[in-house]
Each structure stands twice: as C-alpha cells, then as structure tokens.
Amino acid sequence: MFALFASLSGALSATRTDPADEEAVQRLVSAAREGDRSAARELYSLHVARVYRVVRFMVQSDADAEDIVQDTFLKALGALDRYARRPGVRFISWLLTIAVNTLRKRAAKLSRLESVAPDVLEAQRAEALGSDPLGAELDQARLREQLLSLLAELPARDRWSLTLRYGGGLSAAEVGAICGLSEANVRKICERQRRRLLSRLEHALGPAAFEAVHTRSAS
C-alpha cells in the first residue's frame, strides 16, 4: 500500500504547480487574449489537472473525461475576450464553471457515473498488473476505484461540492457560486461528506496507507 503513496507522491511532483499566483495567471490570460499561443499553452498546463479531476469524477470513462476537458478548454480559450476578471473570483473558477456547464449539457449523451462498471475496473486492474508487477499502479487503480464508487453514491449536489472543493481546489464561496448554494451550506456538506468518505476509504484501503497520507499532508 505504501507503493500507492510513493506513486502518488511521484505523480504529485510531476504535476505542474497549482497556480497560487492569480496575478501571474491574469498576465497569461492577457497575453493569450492578444494571441500569444505559448501563454495559452501555459494556461492549459497550469489548469488541466484540476479540470480533469473534477470532470473525471462525473463521467464513467477516461475517454469521456478527455473529451469534455478538451471541449472545456476549447470554449474557454476561444472565449477569453469575453472573460472579465471579478473580485474574489479566480480564473480557475471561471474555467470550472465552463466545465460544469459542458458536463451538464452533455449529461444526456453520456452515461452518468452511478457506479463504476465492473468491466472497466477489471480492465484497469489487468492493465495495472501487466505494466507494473510491483503493484503500485494496481494500488492506484484501487484508490481510483474506491474514490469513484464512493463518490458515485453521493447525491449530485454533495458530489459536485466535494469534487469542486477538493478536486478543483475552489474555495467554499466559489463552489457555492457554481452550485447555487450558500458558502455555509457548502462548508457543511463538505465537512459531513469528507469525514464519511475518508472513513470509508480508510476502511477500504487499510490504516497503514492513511498513516502515509497523513505524513505527506503534514509535510
């Protein structure tokens, strides 16, 4: 199980740093608006993981997620002229609003994630075993499986709140603005469902794995 967190740790270091500096993001937005393609690429690289994370929790397959993420960025980068910075609302919040709207519009066409299809999980397991005999990838697939299936059990409103808050890295106020909920309500939902989710994940993955996560979180 420690292999899982070692692989997670590797994935984290490989992931681009989250755009903590909103001013830098705004400079990239201005440059991309002027037609600077490298700035547009930088915006994509900075935000793709968070958008993908949110979208992936809402659809059944990686292919669907890729399709929607691509559509989201296509719309966003094509509409930068219409993007207006508002106080307290970051660029990622605007981007995730587009992602959520894209998801909602295409929900009818896609099979929504009510439970992870067993054949999909089996394929993931087989692929992981084949490519990684040490089992790190298999552990990661187990974590993905657990997260997806546990989140799928939640009501849509709670699922949106959790994925936007912890997958997308939005504040409770930003999540509330997207979901049409008050900030206090989002906090309450996240608090309740987070505890429940972590407890069930700990039960499913084992306490040793969670100790490792605590160590990582504290560092």
């Binding site: 997670l8 994935a11 984290l12 490989a14 992931t15 989250d18 755009p19 903590a20 909103e22 393609r37 547009a40 690429r41 994509y44 690289s45 793709v48 993981a49 993908y52 994370r53 992936r56 929790f57 990686d62 997620a65 890729e66 993420v69 691509q70 960025f73 296509l74 980068l77 094509g78 970051r90 990661q140 974590l143 993905r144 997260l147 997806l148 959790l162 994925t163 808050r165 912890y166 997958g167 890295g169 939005l170 504040s171 930003e174 996240c190 987070r194 505890r195 989710l197 972590l198 994940l201 969670f210 996560v213 605590h214 990582r216 979180s217 504290a218």
Partner: protein, 94 residues
C-alpha cells in the same frame, strides 16, 4: 488560492489527485486542443475593422475633393441657417 485549514481537507485533496490525467493523456489532449484552436482561427473570416462615420466622410472627400468641397460648403451654410446660432445671427442682423 483555496486553503485547506483542516488536515482532513488536505488529505482528501491529496487523495483526489489519484484521478489526475496521465502525462500521455495530458499531451494527447493538448495536441488535439491546439489543433482544433488553429483550425478554428483559420476558419474565421477576415473581418474589416469597423469604420467611424467621420472616417467614412474623410474617405469620400478624398475620392472626389472638388465636388465634395462644394457639397460640404453647401451643407455648412444650410446647417448655419438652421441651427439656433444661425437663426439668432440672422435676427440680429436685420
């Protein structure tokens, strides 16, 4: 930047990164995205910049300066006698 004050919040945010796109998928999406953007920008028709009314008048004047000068003088005279200032000047002149 959203801050997680509770260790449980950081923990869940960290766990959720298990669903990050693999680098190959990220690259695949990037290539497809920018190809689509390039195609869209090529398909956009050339739109002429919008001209102001003044610019259009200047353009017309440049085309036929002699005829347009006479027209402009006539327009100025009509405007002078139909505006309050012109009417007032006419009344005072009587």
């Amino acid at each position: 930047m959203s801050e997680y004050h509770d260790p449980g919040e950081r923990e869940l945010a960290l766990l959720m990164r298990a669903l990050d796109p693999p680098p190959a998928a990220q690259e695949r999406m990037e290539v497809a995205l920018f190809q689509a953007l390039d195609a869209a920008s090529l398909a956009e028709p050339e739109v002429a910049p919008e001209q102001s009314l003044t610019a259009e008048w200047i353009e017309l004047f440049k085309l036929r300066p002699a005829a347009n000068s006479a027209l402009m003088v006539a327009a100025a005279v009509v405007l002078y006698f139909t505006t309050p200032l012109g009417v007032l000047a006419g009344l005072l002149g009587r």
